[in-house]
């Protein structure tokens, strides 16, 4: 098998640079496998994150050749167009970087405390667990969101600074769809997200890249409709 070059974005407290690693290509290996191989056989200082390595937890989002993916579920295939058998691996866009490919999730948690739509509600707002099977099935499709951050990375407008993480709209839509919350709570959630809805340009990249097949853009459309109908009534 011939060699490939994997170009990895490196960043530490002092500097950022692109490092090239040359490895012998093997088919049918995931990006996580390649990163582990680099770390354990070539350069133990390379920092990346992975937890379940089964596509369940959402810890290992990275950009492979410019596309935001989960490292553990994505097989590294050589780009056909690349003349030098080269792949690039970068951290997700739109997040503070702790080191190399690792996102600073502590800062994200702090920011979620400020901007989450569910936050102005009292805890335990779902005061009963009784609801119909159909209602719960709808919620399940939205609750599949792992908050991996791939939607954030693919969003072309979040870097402008006015928008918030697309996965927050998925959570907001899930909450207002829940039959167990009352209209006052619903209105509060809508008020919280309403200022951000208009920034979405409906490009649909978030939904196309989502590993769970959820579309934040579609959630935003539904939230806008809900805002409109609240304003009418």
């Amino acid at each position: 098998m011939s060699d490939i070059i994997i170009k990895v974005s490196r960043r530490n407290s002092e500097t950022s640079f692109i490092q090239e690693y040359r490895l012998t290509y093997q088919p049918a290996k995931t990006v996580f496998w390649w990163l582990t191989k680099i770390k354990e056989e070539i350069d133990s200082s390379l920092a990346f994150e992975c937890s379940c390595r089964s596509g369940l937890c959402g810890a290992c989002g990275i950009k492979l050749n410019g596309h935001s993916v989960l490292a553990c579920t994505t097989t590294l295939k050589l780009p056909q167009s690349s003349p030098n058998r080269t792949c690039t691996i970068e951290p997700l866009n739109g997040f503070p970087i702790l080191r190399d490919l690792i996102i600073d999730w502590r800062s994200i948690t702090d920011s979620l405390k400020i901007k989450s739509p569910w936050l102005s509600q009292q805890p335990n707002m779902l005061n009963t667990s009784i609801q119909s099977k159909e209602e719960s099935a709808h919620i399940h499709s939205l609750a599949a969101c792992m908050m991996c951050g791939i939607c954030v990375s693919e969003c072309p407008i979040i870097s402008q600074g006015h928008f918030i993480e697309p996965f927050i709209f998925v959570k907001a839509y899930r909450l207002i769809s829940d039959s167990r919350i009352n209209n006052q709570q619903r209105q509060q959630i809508l008020q919280n997200v309403q200022p951000y809805l208009a920034y979405c340009i409906q490009c649909g990249r978030c939904g196309n890249a989502c590993p769970k097949g959820i579309s934040p853009a579609a959630a935003i459309t539904c939230l806008q409709q809900a805002v409109n109908s609240f304003q009418q009534s």
């Binding site: 350069d43 133990s44 937890s51 390595r53 596509g55 937890c57 502590r106 779902l126 609750a143």
Partner: protein, 569 residues
């Protein structure tokens, strides 16, 4: 210095639930440190099944039945008073999760749907999405008055003369070794399945950090030899293939294309219990009838004859996805290479009072997979892990808060000197040119444990493992790290993790060597039956410097006496 009244170590289900409970006291300063974001903890990577008696699908289910299933599933090694407490508190804990927003699958009347799991005598398992328990608790954590420090690894629990001072941790974000003072501490760091490294289904972080720091601080571990092995994980990646394909009629084949289960369980064949199937597969591999080599040895799980609708949108859709994504195999075209893998660790930090989750050190509590109450005994019933996490996370958080309310302010010198020791250690290992790469020590440990302290154990193998672990411990002291950066130093984190795994591996092996019987997940080919007269008792292992001491403690039996000799393979 950072200081808290209550410090929670570990951001998974038990840790988050403990933090929520402690934070109900608004006058207490509560902090939580975790090695990864709470969303990526083991609770965020589960199958999503939780046992509780709700009688939604079966009027005849009862606390007694849930307790008895748990007791027999654990081969009578579980403490029956703790189990009784557990089953009675599980329904409220699950209702609370639903109220926190975890979406459960419902039946046609809108109540939580309950299905019968393996080893359960009634439909009792409630199902939610695998990551939903962690996300529901995380949403609540955002409301709560809790300081959350993720990307922060515990290195040492600082205890002097039976008094807890706090912990030394490595903060990835600032790159600093930090002392954290606390009046009370809840350890909730998860299991130690990663001692088998590639042969486990557990997340990468399950390196038993909390168990090891407790052992080092003088807190015993209980029953560390009890490891649950799941019969089927993909050989290369360790990703779990559930019991579902075998339930639906998949075959297990050796290298002669034989359905070898006919020699082990001629009636049940592939549908035999997890323990039995795991032992059968390992015996086939040992007899040279497996495929592949070393840790990649495996047998085949053949689904080719099954109805394709089962795989495409049916009950085996998840298996189909897993096979195609992680083994790049279409299960309708080729069989899957599988091997047993460590799935859960029943043993852990010795809890001396299940009402509080207290350890022998006042002010130190533990909950979740890192703790051993013991409710799982010698083997865990499917669906009992997640309710354990929320039931006892809450208990530990409440008790730690209560302790902190009356505890005096600690002195800091103990933390200062511990910090200094770690700073010197960091300097030493990052200047050291390592002759042995760290992953090599880790992989050799995994190989040693798998072959000698794995599914099949005997005296000779266990003695061999002790010798080998001592050699690896010695080599470990000669290693260093290549990464000299302070921030995000995953090399240093892994160094600490490997040290922790070596510490636990020794305790686990000593426990297994001295338990000269077969019970639950602990299979001794030289002592094939359970021996209630000599071994119906908990293993208690303590560590002083590098010396391990073993003793035993009686099992609490309130209602049910053991059934006598159980038949194993």
């Amino acid at each position: 210095m950072i200081s808290f009244d209550v410090l929670i170590v570990g951001g998974g289900g038990a840790g988050m639930r403990a933090a929520l409970e402690a934070s109900k006291h608004s006058n207490l300063k509560v902090g939580i440190i975790s090695k990864t974001s709470p969303l990526r903890s083991t609770t965020g990577c589960t199958g999503g099944g939780l046992n509780a008696v709700f009688n939604n699908s079966d009027d005849t289910d009862s606390f007694e039945k849930h307790a008895y299933d748990t007791i027999t599933g654990g081969s009578f090694l579980g403490d029956q008073d703790a189990i009784d407490f557990f089953v009675k508190h599980s329904p409220d804990a699950i209702t609370e999760l639903a109220e926190f927003g975890a979406p459960f699958f419902l039946d046609s009347s809108g109540k939580i749907s309950q299905r019968q799991g393996p080893g359960s005598s009634a439909p009792r398992t409630c199902w939610t999405l695998g990551h939903a328990t962690a996300h529901a608790l995380y949403d609540q954590l955002l409301y709560a008055n809790v300081t959350e420090l993720s990307m922060c690894n515990i290195l040492e629990l600082v205890v002097t003369d039976s008094a807890v001072h706090g912990v030394i941790a490595y903060d990835s974000l600032t790159g600093k070794l930090i002392p954290i003072a606390a009046k009370s501490i809840v350890i909730a760091t998860g299991g130690y399945g990663r001692v088998y490294w590639s042969r486990t289904t557990t997340p990468l972080g399950c390196t038993g950090d909390g168990v090891a720091v407790c052992l080092n601080a003088g807190i015993p571990v209980k029953d560390p030899e009890f490891i649950q092995f799941h019969p089927s994980a993909l050989v290369d990646s360790g990703v779990l293939i559930s019991d579902a394909p075998r339930t639906e009629g998949a075959y297990l084949l050796n290298n002669r294309n034989e359905r070898f289960m006919k020699n082990y369980a001629p009636e049940q064949m592939e549908k035999a219990t997890r323990d039995l199937v795991a032992i059968a597969i390992e015996k086939e591999i040992e007899a040279g009838r497996g495929l592949g080599h070393e840790l990649n040895s495996h047998v085949l799980l053949d689904l080719r004859h099954l109805d394709k609708n089962l795989l495409h949108g049916g009950r085996l859709s998840q298996t189909d996805y897993t096979a195609k994504t992680f083994a790049l195999v279409d299960p309708l075209q080729s069989p899957l290479p599988i091997r047993p893998s460590c799935h859960f660790t029943m043993g852990g930090i010795d809890i001396v009072d299940y009402h509080t989750c207290a350890t022998i050190i006042p002010g130190v509590f533990a909950a979740g997979e890192c703790a051993c109450l013991s409710i799982h005994g010698a083997n865990r019933l499917g669906g009992n892990a997640l309710p354990e996490v929320v039931v006892f996370g809450k208990v530990a958080g409440a008790a730690a808060a209560l302790f902190a309310l009356t505890a005096p302010q600690q002195y800091d010198f103990a933390l200062d000197s511990a910090l200094q020791k770690w700073q010197e250690k960091f300097k030493y290992i990052s200047n050291k040119k390592s002759s042995i790469p760290l992953p090599e020590i880790r992989d050799r440990l995994a190989q040693t444990l798998w072959h000698n302290v794995g599914v099949i154990r005997d005296e000779q193998r266990l003695n061999k493992a002790i010798v080998e672990i001592d050699i690896l411990q010695d080599r470990y002291t000669q290693t260093g790290i290549a990464d000299t950066n302070h921030i995000g130093n995953t090399d240093f984190i892994h160094y600490a993790e490997i040290g922790n795994m070596l510490t636990i591996a020794k305790a686990l092996t000593i426990g297994a060597l001295n338990r000269r019987e077969t019970r639950g997940s602990h299979f001794r080919s030289d002592y094939c039956n359970n021996d209630d007269t000599s071994f119906l008792k908990h293993t208690i292992i303590t560590k002083e410097d590098n010396r391990y001491n073993i003793s035993y403690r009686p099992v609490t039996m309130t209602k049910y006496l053991p059934v006598g000799v159980e038949k194993y393979v």
